[in-house]
């Protein structure tokens, strides 16, 4: 038989002013299993708490109802208080008679009557409370960062600097991501490579960072503190331990291939380092274009290599390791505009290029050594049209969101173009100019000052006429049709999630929004966490952003990892789902519905009605379960229940309200 104590708080006059607290306490004394009631001026005060502790000892109470302010206010306070008593901290229910009663109902009789009902419900519920306990989850203090762009590098460096080992996985042959492809960065016009490559070098030489390039995450299982990650490292055909990175092989290689790094505007070899400052600065063989690997002929690289580092028999390797936390930093890709914008030629015109291609044209180490030349004939364009929001803010053809960086990116392109080409004309078609950021608007104003012509409106069509690219559009400010005969057109295309976003997101149970960007746990207050514990977001995999925001988020994510790793173990949530295996009929509805992938079906063998039976039953992982209870309703067999909010408790609350 349980022994319930009910404690009514006056909260000064906050409660006592509109509720007859003595009457309430007296009424509560009549409820089943209530053996003690009392009322206090301020229960949450030290003396108030002490009086509860005294009552627990004196009346041998084993569960407590506190009628006071909202449980959102003081439930934790009272749980903490119970830790120093014999009563389990979860044998507590709080009846909210302040926010939801005394403060909203003026009539004392009405308020008191309602307060009695609220205490009834709490007393009925507490009668079916069970002691709950948390479990300790060990933490493996190693972090995995997926993606070696600026976000991943920054996060890896910060975690490593905090003293924890990090593995950085990058699917390309080199670190650097998109940032290292940029020529200069707005608004300061720093050379992008100059600020990015030192980071790359730092990452490469950090003793606590293991870099895995040309690698992909194949499988992730487990949960916070204990992720089992399988990484596939693709064959490089070069032994990086012996390779000195001298580059002779690359020079001698006879196969030429379009350069991905230069966005298709230049050539590379079949054995190559993507760019001069690559980290690791060692070549890899592109098996799809290597004559030796394709046809068995050639092998020049092997012949010229002084240290015998070429390994034509190299194969993919997979390894599985345990990590305590994962940072997702696999970035974005540009929208495939050719597919969507037939009116811009759909890729037919060589001189309609996207912004990242233009960056490579501007870059001194790019295919044109920094001279702005048209891809078609190498001529210097004298009239440049820049079209913004290609794919962005265009729900019909592209995406509905703003890609955030393009306004500044376009202004920078215009500035750089006007700076490099004498007598040039630059027209920028825009919808809005959004330059919120330190020094951003000033930069935009300067660009206008430089002579860039901003035209407000979308370009409806681009076609070739007399060697010019005719851009037809509307200037919505003047209301007139606009025609620009350009030598070259730069499309500032939308950022869209990387190909991997969906695969990795679903593997980890990280939700994606409608555009497949990974969702943060809370848009305001938990912007780098995800709903899966131990998994954090950095950079553009979460949504379009510029470099400073990316770096800030990466450092924030790293900090979250460091906070996690600073503990030796985690305390699991006590109020979680539990499955009654004798009722479970293995239908799997719970498994399908769980947003945290906390439920799995596991085979058990046991005696049932004198027969040994082997069957599958659901099992809740206490480290992953967050206690939402969605599975309990999906569970028609009634096997799944939620501790602290059990079916029985909720039903008895309803009983108490209606029938006590």
């Amino acid at each position: 038989m349980s022994r319930i104590g009910v404690f009514v708080c006056h909260c000064g006059s906050n409660i006592a002013g509109t509720i007859d607290v003595e009457q309430l306490a007296q009424a509560a004394r009549e409820f089943p299993h209530v053996v003690h009631t009392d009322d206090y001026k301020y229960i949450c005060s030290d003396t108030g708490q002490q009086s509860i502790k005294d009552a627990i000892a004196e009346h041998k109470l084993d569960r407590i109802v506190i009628a006071s302010c909202s449980p959102r206010m003081h439930e934790l306070t009272f749980r903490k208080m119970l830790e120093s008593t014999d009563v389990n901290p979860y044998m507590l229910e709080v009846a909210n008679i302040r926010e939801q009663c005394s403060w909203v109902h003026k009539d004392k009789d009405v308020g008191t009557k309602k307060a009695i009902d609220l205490v009834k419900m709490a007393a009925a519920k507490v009668d079916h409370d069970a002691p709950l306990f948390t479990t300790a989850i060990p933490i493996n203090k190693r972090a995995l960062v997926i993606g070696g762009g600026i976000a991943g590098m920054q996060a890896a460096l910060d975690i490593a600097d905090a003293g924890y080992p990090v593995t950085l996985v990058e699917k390309e042959p080199s670190l650097g991501g998109k940032m290292v492809m940029l020529d200069k960065t707005f608004p300061t016009l720093d050379c992008s490579a100059c600020i990015c490559t030192p980071k790359m070098a730092d990452v490469g030489s950090h003793p606590l960072i293991t870099i895995k390039t040309l690698s992909e995450v194949e499988q992730i299982t487990g949960y916070v503190g204990n992720f089992e990650v399988t990484i596939r490292e693709k064959a490089k055909y070069v032994d990086y331990d012996s390779c000195t990175g001298c580059g002779l092989c690359e020079t001698k290689c006879p196969s030429k291939v379009t350069s991905e790094f230069n966005q298709g505007l230049g050539l590379r070899k079949a054995i190559y380092t993507p760019f001069a400052q690559a980290v690791p600065n060692k070549p890899t063989i592109d098996a799809a274009h290597c004559r030796k690997l394709l046809e068995g002929k050639c092998g020049v690289c092997e012949k010229v290599c002084a240290v015998n580092a070429i390994r034509f028999d190299d194969v993919d390797t997979t390894s599985t390791e345990t990590y305590g936390a994962i940072i997702l930093a696999f970035g974005y890709q540009l929208i495939n505009w050719q597919e969507l914008y037939g009116e811009y030629g759909g890729g037919l015109y060589q001189d309609v290029i996207h912004g990242l291609q233009f960056e490579r044209l501007l870059n001194a180490s790019g295919p044109t050594e920094g001279h702005i030349q048209r891809p078609s004939d190498g001529a210097e364009p004298k009239t440049l049209a820049i079209i913004k929001c290609v794919g962005s803010r265009d729900p019909h053809k592209g995406r509905s969101y703003c890609s955030r960086a393009c306004c500044m990116y376009a202004a920078k392109h215009a500035h750089q173009y006007l700076d490099k080409v004498d007598g040039a004309k630059c027209f920028i078609f825009y919808m809005d100019v959004r330059c919120a950021g330190k020094g951003y608007d000033e930069f935009y104003m300067n660009t206008q000052h430089d002579g860039a012509t901003y035209l407000r409106g979308r370009v409806s069509k681009i076609y070739e006429e007399n060697g010019k690219l005719v851009c037809l559009g509307e200037d919505t400010l003047s209301g007139s049709q606009v025609r620009v005969d350009a030598d070259m057109v730069v499309l500032e295309t939308a950022m869209v999630p990387a190909d991997d976003a969906n695969r990795i997101g679903s593997m980890l149970g990280v939700t994606r929004d409608k555009d497949l960007w990974l969702s943060e746990a809370h848009p305001k207050l938990r912007p780098v966490e995800t709903n899966s514990g131990g998994i954090y977001l950095a950079g553009t995999c979460q949504g379009p952003k510029d470099i400073p925001d990316t770096v800030a988020q990466a450092s924030a994510a790293a900090m979250k990892v460091a906070i996690l790793f600073n503990k030796d173990e985690l305390e699991s949530n006590a109020m979680i789902a539990q499955s009654n295996s004798s009722l479970c009929n293995s239908c799997g509805a719970c498994e399908a519905i769980c947003p945290y992938q906390a439920i799995t079906l596991e085979e058990i063998t046991r005696r049932e009605n004198s027969v040994m039976v082997t069957r599958k039953v659901s099992k809740v992982n206490p480290s992953l379960c967050q206690g939402c209870g969605a599975c309990t309703v999906a569970c028609r067999p009634g096997a799944m229940d939620l501790k602290g909010f059990s079916d029985e408790q909720i039903m008895r609350e309803v009983d108490a309200l209606c029938q006590w």
């Binding site: 926010e99 039903m651 309200l657």
Partner: protein, 172 residues
């Protein structure tokens, strides 16, 4: 909100299942702002609207509630990612089922109320309580009513032939 006169004496019992993160905190905010709303409402706190089993709703009606309200976070804002989406589908199907089998639509309502929408909480509660007050009490079987008359401890009238069809006729 005008009080419907014909049933103005009737004080319905309205049970509201509220998710801890949004609606329950919205109700707290309404309290903090000292907003007034009918005292007929009783909040039952659940972690998430996805925890609300439609069987609770039926139980509430069977035990004597005159109306039930289920509240959660706005779609997309669920603290647990997706609980309210599941709740929405369940409740959409279940509400239609209850209405099909003869329950007044007003008696069972679902609303999304965020933690900041104290005013919406007040308005919804006021509206729901007044609508149910206007409908009057939910009808129950004779045996239920007999038991509900507390204090009437005389003859146990069930000791007459329990012909169920008759009970319905007499009840009408």
């Amino acid at each position: 909100m005008s009080v419907v006169e014909s049933n103005s004496d009737f004080q319905p019992t309205v049970l509201a299942f509220c998710c801890h993160w949004c609606t329950y905190s919205g109700a707290d905010l309404a309290g903090l702002n000292r907003m007034n709303y009918p005292a007929n409402i009783r909040l039952l706190r659940v972690p998430c609207s996805g925890r609300v089993n439609p069987q609770y709703v039926l139980t509430a009606f069977n035990k004597g509630c005159d109306g039930v309200l289920v509240c959660g976070c706005h779609p997309g804002d669920c603290h647990y990612v997706s609980g309210n989406y599941f709740a929405k589908r369940r409740m959409m199907a279940f509400k239609r089922l209850l209405e099909y089998t003869g329950l007044e639509p007003e008696r069972f309502q679902i609303r999304w109320i965020s933690g900041s929408e104290a005013g919406k909480f007040r308005d919804v509660v006021t509206q729901v309580c007044e609508e149910i007050r206007a409908l009057g009490p939910l009808k129950h079987s004779a045996s239920f009513e007999a038991f509900a008359e507390q204090g009437a401890l005389g003859t146990v009238n069930a000791l007459t032939p329990a012909n169920k069809a008759e009970e319905v006729v007499e009840n009408d």
